[in-house]
Symmetry: D2
Subunit: 323 residues, 4 copies
């Protein structure tokens, strides 16, 4: 191994830059050359390669987004696309690639690795924290704090006006951001795809109203909630209980950006270093992850599965606390 | 004058608590008693009066929202409602009232003051900064920084993905938040109700696309923009130029909350003290305002008019800079 | 068990209010009465007891500090003091007490519990995260992010002026805040009490200077570092290498305050609920902790010991990355 | 005029990058070439010139510090130094220079302009806001909010422990940051160089103690205060009243950095555009400033004087409110 590539793929997540920096610097410390591949798998096919230096990744640790950009690539789903990508890698003399992204990106890398002899190692980065095999994915803590800070602001105005806010947070099929965010802001009801026990709590909250004890309320809704999004649920609630003064806020793409928190920077740094170590150890088709604070290796074919388990205790706690 | 009331009315704005604190403390320093009236004019009618003490307003300076809550009151629009309010004020021995709110609140106070002999003095508080006669309304700077911090986050993800974001900011008929927020984040196009010269810039941006020079872009749209809101404009733009990867973000009620900035706290403190001074000077039916950094008195009937002028230079600057 | 007390003791930490809220609400949900004891053990002796209600702990989740205040008590170190405290608890009908604090507080509670039959259960709260038996203590993540955000600002000015900053962070004998904070900001050197291997890196950095590759630098120093504090080390460094333009910043008490992060709020909520569960389960003289994300019970006599182990991998990583 | 230079000089201030961007883009919009001069006057002498492009200043608007760096230059104080600088400017074909900095920088530029025929135009940037002729200098609002956010955190711990904090803020001979910061955080006493009437309030606060009415307190001290800095005053106060539990916090260089606030970005953008306009209008040896929200031109020889006037009303307000 003399030269490695690094790319970011899928949705961006705060901390990706910290991971790029750690990969680059630790590779250089091990006397490897590093090539930054722009626009994910698309750049692999279109040959968007630039050398990365130690000073070139200076000052990016604290920035959201990804200096390598990210994109979707339909061509990489085709055999020709992947063959082109392979040829580019060979031409550039790249012996291994670090992929920073989510489960979809690892699936892509796995397909490629079965066809060609260039090893890929993954670093999990998605604000949803929904990848099997790792306790943590880069970006989750920053997104969680963005949710909390936004809802803190909304609570000011909810309390001042005696309003109920339906707040939709990101997370696709995963309710982790909504659940922990809801606990952290003291939400009255939290609706997540992984549990339908909260549907009753929601109905009770709407029908009996918040007026008995509280003058305002926060309902946090995961975007993948099966009953529907915040707008649909708000309409339903208004019909059932016209006394409620309901407003909707969809937090949106703001949740994907922002300067990474301390936790995301540290996790990204650990994983970036671990990914280079794994390559030097001749590993391939694995994602580095964190379990109980320690680095683990998870085969791509396991890492791609979604982790649908949710901490049921947290739901219990929420019910107990919101009285 | 021995006893004054203070209430917050209309939409809440960060810094209202700082104003309540300043009114209360400076009144007490002048040996006045202070009564907090909850839920605005509604509380005036429903007799929601509580004494405010110096220590009672301790620790609220830095909090968003309003400890006195706010509400809309249809009853105050009726003669009977106002008569009830007057009776409550007389019964409580209140000689004057400070109203913290927007132009609508001052109109209400003006009608009341023409019928009854209890003077009202206003403090302008609205995130829109759209009240004639004052350079500043409490809450504007905090809302502006909330917009800027949210769009900074969105820019991370816009740049990483090569996307165009249509971002809708508050301000009703006023484009000040959108204009200054757009300048502060380096928006490619800013659409505000006060100017239609930007419509061409918008069309040009959409038709020619951002692909020539830039890989991503931010379009800031005031909610009162006549061409329509962010969702409508995004749909239109997607039809005209399917190459653009457009996303929409409506910043929403988050803009009304949050810990007030230094400027909002200082302005609220100055105005709170000035309102009590005005009452002691036998002023009535005036709003205290800030012009060129100095306190001014503006009659309610002038303060109610919206200020539709916008700084044309800023629009020029935006065009020049966004190249 | 019909009535429990709750107090905060030792240095304050962000998230203590979230813990108070969780203890109070979950106790009430289990039909217990809750008494807030002000000023820690001092208030126990001086009978500073106030009932806590569900609505009384509303709106404190997001605030730093502790509504119950905290204080040191020499009297509690005496037998008479503790006897007085016991009598007050008996008079108030309190059957168990939740102590939110650090190892010193648990030691005090342990002594008391050996003499009297009122059980104490502890919740670990200190920004130092240095208590044996738990992976986490409330306040650590907030303090860590405060450090990171402050140093991010300092890096702006360090880079602009080509300066080296010596930054002293809290943590007493524990270097966790300094180590993780230093990694998260990309510090050139990190000095912590648990390791002297960095002393060489420090000397090398000072003697060879930063001028070779970088134009500015950050040295993070834990307050318990044996070589001395930031001021002393800066003086030494200036003598050794007058070419360096060194500035010192002691982050100070700011690190103890601020709105808790999402992680601190969630951890505090989990632990608060767990402490009440433990009391209902007839537990005594134990601290609830978090190990691998799950609640554990740690006897006070184990929890009092400091945890001096540090993640050596992180030090390795720091050396590798800072090139 | 075909080519202009731009440099930052003196202490850095948040918003300098926004000004560099505005100068560069508006110059290019007027068909001028732009050269970035690194390290202030030092770079002028040492020929550190790099062309600036529109895309080269992309993404810097929101960053603290200055991409052009800043430095002190003794050589520029000599005739030979300035002659060298002139020769470099002539060789590079630069017809005019924009200086972003404080009064010291303008003095330097003035001396140069008297000797050589290359016009200089200044943009005021210093967190102290102490330059005569302009209501605003870039960086002040960001520094003010940094002070306020830091003291907000300290207030949490002050209130929890019943402590008095002596907090030293920047500002050299100017007390504006301390005065407005103190008002915004609700300080009990504010000590600034411009007024000694607060010395009595300080003595009264120390001697009578805060224990009568309040359990904690904040004393904000400007670094230029004639009675001494926070450490010296704290020592004095502890001797006079040993009952007080006093802590000191020196906010330090953190105040110079950080992402600029909305106000700083907008002001920097306006001034950057105005500086280029001034050059195109054949102005020289003037600083562009803001008076009552409008651009003004202030001759360098006037702009160099410090503005020692302080808003006496604010001091009155502080006394009134802190009861």
């Amino acid at each position: 191994i003399k030269k490695i590539g690094v790319l970011t793929s899928g949705g961006d997540a705060p901390g990706m830059n910290a991971a790029i920096r750690a990969v680059t610097r630790s590779a250089i410390a091990h006397n490897l050359e590093v090539i930054g591949i722009h626009h994910g798998f698309k750049g692999l096919i279109e040959n968007e390669f630039t050398p990365l230096t130690s000073s070139g990744v200076s000052g990016i640790l604290q920035n959201g987004g990804t200096i390598l950009k990210t994109a979707r690539s339909r061509e990489f789903l085709t055999e020709e696309g992947r063959a082109k990508a392979y040829q580019n890698l060979v031409n550039a003399g790249i012996n291994a690639v670090v992929v920073i992204g989510g489960d979809g990106s690892f699936t892509g890398a796995l397909v490629f690795s079965k066809e060609f002899d260039i090893p890929f190692v993954g670093i999990p980065a998605t604000i949803d924290n929904d990848i099997f095999g790792t306790d943590y994915t880069i970006g989750y803590d920053t997104a969680l704090n963005t949710v909390v800070q936004a809802v803190d602001k909304i609570k000011d105005t909810a309390a001042s006006h005696g309003r109920v806010f339906f707040i939709e947070v990101m997370g696709r099929e995963a309710g982790l951001l909504a659940l922990n965010g809801g606990i952290a802001v003291g939400a009255e009801v939290i609706l997540i795809p992984e549990s339908n026990t909260e549907h009753q709590a929601f109905d009770r909250f709407i029908s009996k109203g918040y007026k008995r004890k509280k003058t305002s309320g926060i309902v946090v809704i995961a975007e993948g909630e099966e009953m529907g999004g915040a707008l649909k649920l708000a309409k339903k609630a208004e019909q059932e209980n016209p006394d409620l003064d309901i407003r909707v806020s969809i937090l949106g793409h703001m949740q994907r950006g922002g300067n990474p928190t301390a936790q995301d920077r540290v996790a990204a740094t650990k994983m970036g270093v671990a990914a280079v170590d794994a390559i030097l150890d001749d590993q391939k088709s694995i994602m580095v992850g964190l379990r109980y604070g320690k680095i683990v290796h998870v085969p791509f074919n396991k890492a791609v599965k979604l982790n649908h388990s949710i901490d049921q205790d947290l739901l219990e706690i929420q019910r107990l606390i919101t009285i």
